[in-house]
Symmetry: D2
Subunit: 393 residues, 4 copies
């Protein structure tokens, strides 16, 4: 385990929680105190302050990277040298170029590697994706992914140099991969229109951003990220298809509601308040996808298959992020530059409604209170729109 920050903590909580058979055997932090405190707390045998030593440590089969973004490339390089399997936290890199270099060294070395994008693995998302794949929503038209809170805990994330950006890099990377999963990871993200601004915090990076991602088949992804949200952590996804709708709420409204006068002190993590109406989450590491993510990663290793989220996916996400920054600057749609596209190409446009009634195109069908059905029809020649009420349909 490289890193003892919030993400290293979540990863370790997940692996050491419940009755898992996978354990952290060695932890690395630049700071000896932090490394040792962390190791003691979680019953980890080895605590080291040298990254290379940690990577090559004989006690472990897999290296998990939970470091600041600017250190990912170096850490992956060490894993390749040590011929160790590697799982890298999100975002993969600061730029698509950096991500591509990581992808290249990993693939040329042949080590097992996975991309730790937890929010794609939340139990709700996994079940929703299954429904989408079975066709319960028809063709996917639009996916909104929103991730907003009051800003990161660690100081390095507020420094654009180390982080590679602001809320887009921190939160948008989740949203982009959630959107890709719902739209279809084999559908190419073609171009991006993005707004970004620094509205509240005195920083260089953006603390708010909204972007649209247009896919080759016409589907649109929309992300909203913010480091200035008030009221806790807002994690919501919405998906609209030709046959249905999905709304997921991962944090503030999950069926756990509590009012407290404030008696008893500290109540819930990340809540802005300790009294009044509070909305805790049952089992945070499970609800945020960490459990299912590591299950997939380790099972994939054991079974010799690729995990659901790969280093290649991390690269695609970085390419979309790059296009977002270009668009925010140029103030127009910018292409997503993917020199290495492995999905489908030439994908047909979303089919939509293509039904004819007596030589007229069906625009809409609507059941009326009296049981009759109203058809709105268009003459394909003249373009004239008419309506017709029929007994049954």
């Amino acid at each position: 385990m490289l890193g003892t920050g919030l993400i290293g903590l979540f990863y370790t909580m997940t692996l050491h929680g419940q009755r898992g058979r996978d354990r952290v055997s060695c932890v690395y932090s630049r700071d000896a105190d932090r490394a040792q405190t962390f190791a003691r707390k979680w019953g980890i045998k080895h605590a080291v302050t040298d990254m290379e030593e940690a990577v090559k440590h004989t006690s472990s089969d897999v290296v998990i990277i939970g470091l600041p973004n600017h250190l990912h490339e170096e850490a992956v390089q060490l894993c390749v040298e040590a011929n160790k399997a590697v799982l890298c936290t999100k975002p993969l890199a600061r730029t698509a170029a950096e991500a591509k270099r990581i992808l290249n060294i990993v693939e040329s070395s042949g080590i097992f590697a996975g991309y730790l994008e937890d929010l794609v693995y939340t139990p709700k998302t996994l079940k929703a994706l299954e429904s989408v794949r079975r066709g319960a929503l028809g063709e996917i038209l639009w996916t909104r992914s929103r991730e907003a809170h009051s800003g990161p805990h660690s100081s390095w994330f507020w420094d654009v140099e180390q982080a590679g950006g602001g809320a887009i890099v921190d939160l948008g990377c989740h949203c982009i991969e959630i959107i890709r999963n719902f739209v279809g990871k084999d559908i190419r993200p073609v171009e991006v229109s993005c707004w970004a601004d620094t509205l509240v915090h005195p920083i260089e990076a953006e603390d708010n951003s909204i972007a649209l991602i247009r896919f080759e088949n016409g589907a649109v992804g929309q992300f909203e990220v913010s480091w200035t949200f008030r009221g806790g952590m807002d994690l919501r996804d919405e998906v609209a298809g030709t046959e249905g709708t999905i709304w997921l709420n991962h944090f503030l409204r999950t069926g756990f509601e509590m009012f407290s006068s404030g008696a008893g002190g500290y109540v819930a993590e990340k809540a802005e308040q300790e009294s009044g109406w509070l909305f805790p989450v049952g089992d945070e590491v499970h609800e945020l996808g960490y459990t299912d993510m590591f299950t997939d990663m380790f099972n994939a290793m054991d079974e010799g298959r690729e995990p659901m989220e790969t280093i290649y996916d991390g690269y695609v996400v970085n390419a979309v992020i790059d296009a977002c920054y270009r668009s925010a600057k140029s103030r127009k749609w910018e292409p997503v530059e993917l020199e290495d596209w492995r999905g489908r190409t030439g994908v047909a446009r979303i089919r939509g409604l293509k039904e004819m009634v007596d030589g007229l195109e069906l625009v809409k069908r609507e059941r009326l209170p009296n049981g009759e059905v109203k058809l709105i029809l268009k003459d394909p020649g003249t373009g004239e729109v008419t309506q017709r009420v029929v007994e049954d349909d």
Copy 2:
């Protein structure tokens, strides 16, 4: 009452509902049958098929326009000639130019006039606006307004010529005015970035659109409109400010939940289904703002003041819509062209967090579980970001 379609029906239901003192005395429809049926059903004395006759009818003090968009200008012209007060449904016109002509003739004539934008008047919106004005949310950073359903009931609305556009004109007009009210109607909408596409229905107009509106002070409005939504009518607004958040749900989740096996037949208007889980609204005309809208309009007339929503507001909305269509085409941000701007100018940018701690800029303040407070601080000279934990704050 000019028009006997869905909007004329809602207006009449509102006026004749409860124990109101204002009644419809004369109804106009091109079609004699429709006019008479409507008049009989609602106890209206006069039913006419000549618009001019309706406008000039001595039985009424006010003309309410509930006609297709392309007839608004002509109807307002008749009101001006008849020197009658006029209330015009939304959108005011098909283009800002048309809206400006309507504004000019109304203002030069001196008649009382109001813009029937009901969704700004929903009881929830009115109370939310009051909280925003009192400062409960601090400075407004972002407003999302979403309006989505399966498409309009009337055939004319599917014809781009008569309607002036698609989902943007039909639904976006509501969203834009909701956004303006939350951000502040005196803050100038500066520019727009808009995506629009026809994904499902075989029509010329857009059936889906998403747009961002940037205001002079940096605040951003976001609208999402769709004629392809599955599951009923999705009417939601979200507002984020420096001090708080508001989430409004006007239709599908209002505290009325019902499961039915389908026994008993027709259950709820606009629901896609008659069985399964259904989400009716208590009193639709009240929840959608019609009651409070007419109360404001008639009280304004009685008190000799302007209503909350004026013809000028309708013009601003059309100007934003025009910019949306330009942006959807040019694929970049487009300025909102307002030759007649009556709000504030030179408005300062949102203030954000501007607190200094020992000569360092405060980036974030966070209370830790143990009661201590963590400060993230930035050196304004070097840009270096550090953190500090203090006992209390």
Copy 3:
């Protein structure tokens, strides 16, 4: 308007809100200052301190009683003497005996009279009742009505002598009538099992109570009332029938959610807090049923019909409350004593599932994931329960 307390205020807000044609012309309070302040605030012409003078005042057609419970009988007596229509607030009286005397004098005099049970008239309840009447829920099996807050505003309500009881009299009266409406007002409430206790406040009356009401057809009503609830005002109803379910939330979760740091001061009535997550209601008097209640009352007067809620209903409610107090004391089921029952008698028991399959009674039918149908069947002779999976059904 007799009374200037919270209920007199709500009634006046309702009548003078929107564009109603009914106005309060004369207000009575024992206290001259209160009467005059109230009159000034609401534009009421006459303010008097003599109840008889108020009742007989020539400016009004109807007397509305918004007085403490122990004064209702006297006030109704005055209306009868003045031959004035009367609308009496809930509960009608402190006991069934008192309620019966009120009923008798009203009916023998022939004046128009109504029972102001507002929560039966909430827009959601009216629409839900319509669905129930149409059969969307099949036969009603169970209704839960819950009303809980932190206790009444007025001091007289904490005095068991003036109020006639505690939370049961204050809140249970609403619940009982809501339950009766869902089960069917013509179905006789047969007996009651009730628990009541004083858990928190230093008072004689109960501050918490739960009761079950058994109806002649086997349906059960359940009420939960509390003067010790934390978090605002909890008003919820749940209905279960053989074909469906209804859940109504009238106050804390109605689609209006707000987080505030506390900036801007006072935010919402009855909220326990001014910061954190708050759940305001859009238009309180409308959502709580006052608007539709007065519309029904005045329309009933105009149309010479009975209102939906009559003095007789108030009497039945008091009879159920009496049985609750007897049961809370005897600690067993107690009959509801109704010397004057005007509904149906000898009503058959709820029919339930009565389907035979090959001579066996159908216990349950369940669709399996693979599309097959599983039947659970009982031999009516031996009582043996078996299961069978069939292709289709």
Copy 4:
């Protein structure tokens, strides 16, 4: 693993899900086919049709009982004889007498034993219990636990002889233990008032029941169980304390909402419908508490401590159930007969509000919109209630 029904399936899914280190090594079913199919599906080595053989099988350390209720005693007896640790599903037995015999043989043998009451272990419940223990709700006054669906899947559960009862035995056992956990497992349940009826299904056992449980300190538990609920599975808990409120929703409203036209076929387990609005649960075995339950059980074994839910708890639950059946018959409160009570005795009554202001008892304190505070006060001598408005408090 004894039993291959729904509960055996859930237990095995839990143990074999994720990356757990505990596996099922031998499965027993009366029916050889079912045993072998189950073993194949879940990769279990041994499948046997002799219960004794299964219990004594050398491949396992722990026996998990997932059998019909009437077979629990026999199975536990076998475990004692084999000196094997045993985990028994809920309810422990059909009656308190049977439960007591099980408790006795387990305790005299000294084997490790646990009571598999999963719903006490849901992540939401565990976190809520932690908040309650920390005092966030003050003293607990009332707990409502509601469990309702359309009836069990297995035919044996519809037979009162094998099951020991109906919905009370099936669902009430969960509710009772949830209530005990919130009120405090060391607080004695003193007496019970219960209604039970068979309203819909043609069976001997009750298909609906509501009960109140009074605890020694005055707190009240309320359970509602039903085999006739329409709309899915309704699992909700509500807790009210002097300082706060908790609402838990475990199934139908957990932040996962989906509308489908029905395209794509089968969508969600236990949903009544395959189209319309559906409310799936993310990870069912985790959300229903199975994961945390087995973690606690196996960790307790490893650590040589008692699990959170013991066989003794199962016995207390059966004693409360017995009192429910007696009360449903006698139609009055019935004592809970616990010959073996291990909690506290002579517990003081809930304290409530005990504050004096100038020699008067404080009844209520309420902050007014203008910032002033209204006190309602009672003279402890005369009982007179008065109110007083003070500047601050």
